[in-house]
């Protein structure tokens, strides 16, 4: 989807501060949010791609204002509610109860974990399809915009680059995030020149990005 998460090349964000003494977690709740988020994928029967898509489904203002682990805990809740593990509103109600309010907690609903066939653990798969592209080849990234999850960022869409390597095949996030199957595909690292992406006035540099085979066409 064309959401706030797709940040490559967007402008106006200001500068980056490095805090050299930053702890792994700034606050205890962030550590808990991290661990619960990892657990949420298993208990909801979803997967990493669905989790990433969950982050994208948050309202842009929330995405920007909640912080990294704030986004994670919202997404963990989203996946649990999607799959019926928790009823809608359960987390907010319990949070209010914990803060001393008198609130009715919603009753459990029927679980509806996603049903789809997994080809193994993790995301890498061995496939027999003949690769469509090879190193050195010129390709164009698809210019298609999708409403669902995709890992093709807007900044390379429709742009021309060169394949520099083929990587292990992997499940297609566009399908896996929506539980319609794994659709494993070859993955390639593609190099784009900065002037192709940002115009002649751009800093001279290269971007190398991993693209799934269906994101690419021969150019």
């Amino acid at each position: 989807m064309d959401g706030i998460h797709d940040m490559g090349g967007t402008q106006g964000w200001g500068s980056v501060e490095i805090d050299p003494n930053e702890p792994v977690f700034k606050e205890d709740w962030e550590a808990r949010a991290f661990a619960l988020s990892l657990a949420s994928m298993g208990v909801s029967g979803t997967n990493l791609d669905a989790f990433r898509h969950g982050l994208e489904r948050l309202h842009p203002v929330d995405y920007l204002s909640e912080g990294y682990y704030g986004r994670w805990i919202s997404t963990a809740e989203l996946l649990c509610v999607d799959s019926g593990i928790l009823p809608p509103g359960a987390v907010a109600a319990r949070a209010r109860v914990m803060q001393g309010e008198k609130v009715d907690e919603p009753a459990d609903v029927e679980t509806q974990k996603p049903q789809y066939e997994r080809g193994g653990a993790g995301s890498l798969r061995e496939i027999e399809d003949t690769p469509k592209f090879e190193a050195g080849q010129t390709i164009r990234a698809s210019s298609l915009r999708k409403s669902g999850h995709t890992r093709l960022p807007a900044y390379v869409r429709g742009r021309t680059g060169t394949v520099i390597a083929r990587r292990p095949a992997a499940v297609l996030p566009d399908s896996t995030a929506h539980f319609t199957g794994e659709d494993p595909q070859h993955v390639y690292t593609v190099e784009f020149d900065s002037t192709e992406l940002w115009g002649e006035g751009a800093e001279k540099s290269k971007v190398r990005i991993d693209l799934f085979e269906s994101y690419m066409e021969a150019a």
Partner: protein, 199 residues
């Protein structure tokens, strides 16, 4: 699909974390000890010290360096480093002519087994946005002012491959042991926003 209330109308993330944990524990779906284990692992056992060992070994052992560049996943496993967010590790070497750096513009993918969880700057919209468009200006602001003669390549981790930078070994470190070298290697150098200095 579920839509959550907007955060302004919603309890704070902090209290929602407690609520979610309580609800899942009550239903027997998560074990708090397992959560403690996840946290403990990434606070204490997995972090940039892992990556630093890989770098130091590559600096002192040229055969290892070649194996590392040829198959990062296997070479990291030799030192015991693998697991989530390290399914396929690709190691890229910085040279006097070519500087490499890593970003994930779409979220914040990062080679956990080698570097632990990403720091805030890596997750900052400014880093995610600017690294692919104006890496030289960004690096300069972050303290790394590269000469114009050095080319820059930015690796955007958009799939399940995780990129790891093998920084240049600094001059004046000829006499140091592998352990001493590892202590010099910073997280930021292994993401490609800094260089290693002799200390």
């Amino acid at each position: 699909m579920t839509e959550l209330p907007r955060s302004e109308d919603y309890p704070s993330p902090q209290i929602r974390v407690e609520a979610l944990e309580a609800l899942l524990v009550e239903r027997g779906l998560v074990d708090p000890n397992v959560l403690d284990g996840f946290i403990n692992r990434y606070v204490n056992d997995v972090g940039p010290m892992n990556g630093a060992k890989v770098v130091a070994k590559a600096w002192v052992d040229d055969d290892y360096r070649k194996r590392l560049l040829a198959d990062g996943t296997e070479a990291c496993k030799e030192l015991g480093f693998g697991g989530p967010q390290g399914e396929h590790i690709v190691v890229v070497e910085n040279t006097p002519e070519m500087h490499n750096m890593v970003v994930c513009t779409l979220c914040s993918c990062y080679p956990w087994p080698l570097l632990g969880l990403p720091p805030n700057w890596y997750k900052d919209p400014a880093y995610r946005a600017r690294s692919v468009r104006e890496p030289r200006a960004l690096l300069k602001e972050m303290g790394l002012d590269l000469p114009d003669s050095v080319e820059i390549t930015v690796w955007d981790s958009s799939a399940e491959n995780r990129y790891f930078i093998l920084p240049m070994r600094p001059e004046g470190t000829e006499g140091l042991s592998e352990d001493e070298l590892a202590k010099l290697v910073s997280r930021d150098a292994m993401v490609g926003v800094a260089q290693v200095t002799a200390g």
